[in-house]
Amino acid sequence: MLLSSFFIVDIDKFNALPDIELPENAFLSYRITSANRSHIDHLIQKIVLQKKNAFCIMIDLHGDAFKTGDEFEQIMTALVSLSFHFKYVKPGQDNPLIIFDSSVEDIDKYVAIARDRFIEQGYANIETVIINSSTNNNDVTKEKNLYFRLQQNSSGLFTSYNDLINKITSTSYAVFYFLEYPEILPDVLDTISKVEIQFKKESPQAYHLLEENFVLTKKEQEAQNKAGILEEQLESVKNYQNPSDSRYKKQITELLYFYKYEYEILPLWYKRFGHIIKVLRGQRTFKSLFRDNVKKYKN
């Protein structure tokens, strides 16, 4: 898809999603609301085994969804668990994406709570997108996040999306498709595909610019990922500095060879006989032959 596209499905409608693979640059987004948040564990149970599609979570904060910060905290643990799934969308430097749908003024408070919960589990940060779906948002001249609310079928989508894509003036748009009925997803994808094919024919230059942007964005992300890998490997090398690189290389290697070839290869019965000899010579306690939580060596 030319534009980053999120298909929003309420978490209690997960089972209605058809079993299809989304194209590149398309993601599922499971929406948590005050009405359906009790279904989170059910969502986790269903989603852990799915491997097809990248997904993220949208938290709907409209209508006093979470009356207190504590209520919001309660779902955070579940969201962190969901983010562990290898298909969870982690766009930049492997930070998980969370979409907030909110008109509340203190949205920053909720974002901060979420950020803290994720950071304490090891993430450097979270990627956030804040939208307000209660507004009528498909004016590309004003907004970068564009919404389509789809009901029982995708009629009207062709015209709407076609209008939208022909007005694109930059590449930093994201499109959110709110699917009241997840079953229509294949039709929606088909419609989007047809619009983009037509757009390619009618505006090839704009199409190829958008396509190139997508490719470059992907390469940028791959480069960031590679930087993350190299950082991990560098840390590993630093921590596990080969001891035989030190100036005691020969001594260390000789010791290790002695341990391996002169001690380790001895049979167990021989070593145990040695323990008895140590006891007889007064170098080890008798009780330590049979129990571990006693003094072992005599000074």
Partner: protein
């Protein structure tokens, strides 16, 4: 070279009776530079692959023989059965243990054959147990391969020898005998070029330890198959082979992927267990992933739920992900930030196990343990992984079912006890951390044995009981970030290495070894 008669004795083995693409490509290249190929397989080969080979490789004869004595036995068979054409000027012995060529071989042949003082040569040499040319690729002039010294090397019955004996009596003896007979041997990339300050007693196998330097600095045309698949020395940067291949653009990386797929397929198996098990497996090292996967095959069954937690390197490796999904189709795959090292990954996996409602009787806690770059690293790994050997798994289930006081089972060699009763401390840097958690979780411990290495079987009920009170993520948030070590000071992660057993003992169970 153009006017010389070149013959190659190529040794092959494939339990699946196939000839992989990487072999055909290699032989196609050799044939293209003028070699007559004598293909000797120590296994039967399906007709479709024989047809493919003869279509793609001009001037190729195929022989099949029994699987005895590895490559030296096959070469011996060829010599004794007069398979080598009489007009051969140069004889190349090589086998299927290498991927390549990553660069054209012609410049190498032209360079080495232009040195009349060299009687036999190979690509690399090794000083371990005496100087020798490594036998995966050795070329001999006529006066060498027709000599008594050469023929004598191939007189022993390699079919009755172990692998180690074949190396000593074949590979090592070959160079030694020829040098003793007055012939001069050389390596295209001598070890002293790779490691100028080396000492003989410390010389390593450059095709493993210096594999990338050989390619990038010396245009070494091969990478050892054993390095990528089994990686016995745990070299950790081998995943960059694909970017190297892409950089030079001469070789098709798909050949290597096909070989990896074949390696995994040939080791794949599904079993049946009397109990449900969950496997919480943290995968960190890309260098040993394929070997480790073959070890995990012993756990595959309809009763097994795998949960893998991946490191950054593995998560971003699409081929590894593809292999995991192919060979462990029902597995849950996670990617968590590096917090708590392997224990953080395992705790995250248990969090998911609890939330997903998946039940099991026993849980295997495991990771791709290795001690990088230590001589004892491979032995340590093999000992720890003993508990997933097929015969040992049966014993584990029997022990659990016969004695309901057993909580944890691990390898005998890795049961340790650091508690000093006289001083009431643990003789490790994490003593304070351990006491902190004992107090925090109100553990009543009298037995301080623990499963060192954090690879063990445990009754799932023990984990459920504990983590129902202390949720996994509440535990995980106290772990240190990154690859935290306890060399200088204690860590919560290393405390937790002991704590699994202490929690088990506190619930009235015990830790035993097998």
């Amino acid at each position: 070279m153009r006017t010389s008669k070149l013959t190659c004795l190529f040794v092959h083995f494939n339990a699946g009776m196939k000839i992989n693409q990487y072999i055909i490509a290699y032989l196609e290249h050799l044939s293209g530079i003028g070699f007559e190929i004598i293909f000797i397989s120590n296994s039967q080969v399906k007709q479709e692959y024989k047809n493919l080979l003869t279509e793609r490789v001009k001037n190729c004869k195929i022989f099949e023989r029994e699987n005895k004595g590895a490559d030296f036995s096959a070469w011996k068979w060829a010599i004794e059965n007069n398979v080598i054409p009489e007009d051969t000027d140069y004889l190349l012995l090589t086998n299927d243990s290498i991927f390549g060529p990553l660069f054209p071989l012609t410049p190498i042949f032209e360079s080495m054959l232009a040195r009349p003082e060299i009687d036999f040569w190979g690509l690399t040499d090794n000083y371990h147990r005496g100087w020798h040319i490594q036998s995966y690729f050795v070329c001999f002039s006529k006066k060498v391969f027709t000599s008594d010294a050469f023929k004598k090397v191939f007189q022993p019955d390699f079919g009755k020898m172990t692998k180690q004996e074949i190396i000593i009596q074949g590979e090592l003896q070959l160079s030694a005998a020829l040098v003793n007979a007055g012939f001069k041997g050389a390596a295209y990339i001598p070890y002293q070029l790779v490691n100028p300050d080396f000492e003989h007693w410390d010389a390593k196998n450059s095709t493993h330890l210096n594999w990338d330097q050989l390619i990038e600095q010396f245009n070494f045309p091969f990478v050892k198959k054993e390095l990528l698949l089994q990686n016995p020395e745990n070299i950790q940067n081998t995943d960059k082979i694909f970017s190297i291949i892409q950089k030079y653009g001469f070789y098709n990386a798909e050949y290597i992927k096909e070989a990896i797929l074949d390696y995994l397929s040939s080791n794949d198996a599904v079993h049946s267990f009397p109990n449900k098990i969950s496997v919480l497996c943290h995968l960190y090292y890309p260098g040993s992933i394929y070997y480790f996967m073959t070890r995990l095959f012993t756990l595959k069954s309809p009763q097994t739920q795998f949960i893998f937690n991946l490191s950054t390197s593995l998560y971003h490796n699409s081929f590894v992900l593809e292999m995991l999904e192919k060979f462990f189709p029902g597995a849950i795959i996670l990617y968590t930030p590096n917090q708590g090292r392997d224990i953080g990954g395992k705790v995250a996996a248990f969090e998911i196990l609890m939330r997903s409602g998946i039940e099991s009787d026993y849980t295997l806690i495991i990771h791709d343990k290795l001690s990088p770059h230590t001589p004892t690293g491979v032995e340590w790994r093999n000992k720890l992984l003993k508990i997933i050997n097929t015969t040992v798994i049966e014993k584990v289930f029997r022990k659990f079912s016969r004695n309901n006081k057993i909580g944890i089972i691990t390898t005998n060699d890795f049961i340790e006890n650091e508690y000093d009763a006289d001083r009431n401390i643990f003789t490790c840097t994490s003593s304070d951390n351990i006491f902190y958690f004992i107090n925090k979780y109100k553990l009543h411990v009298t037995d301080y044995k623990f499963a060192a290495g954090t690879i063990f079987w445990i009754r799932t009920s023990i984990l459920r009981h504990f983590f129902s009170t202390y949720p996994p993520l509440s535990v995980r948030k106290e772990f240190e970030k990154g690859n935290s070590l306890d060399f200088d000071k204690g860590t919560n992660i290393h405390a937790w290495e002991r704590l699994f057993s202490f929690i088990t003992h506190s619930q009235g169970f015990k830790t035993i070894g097998i």
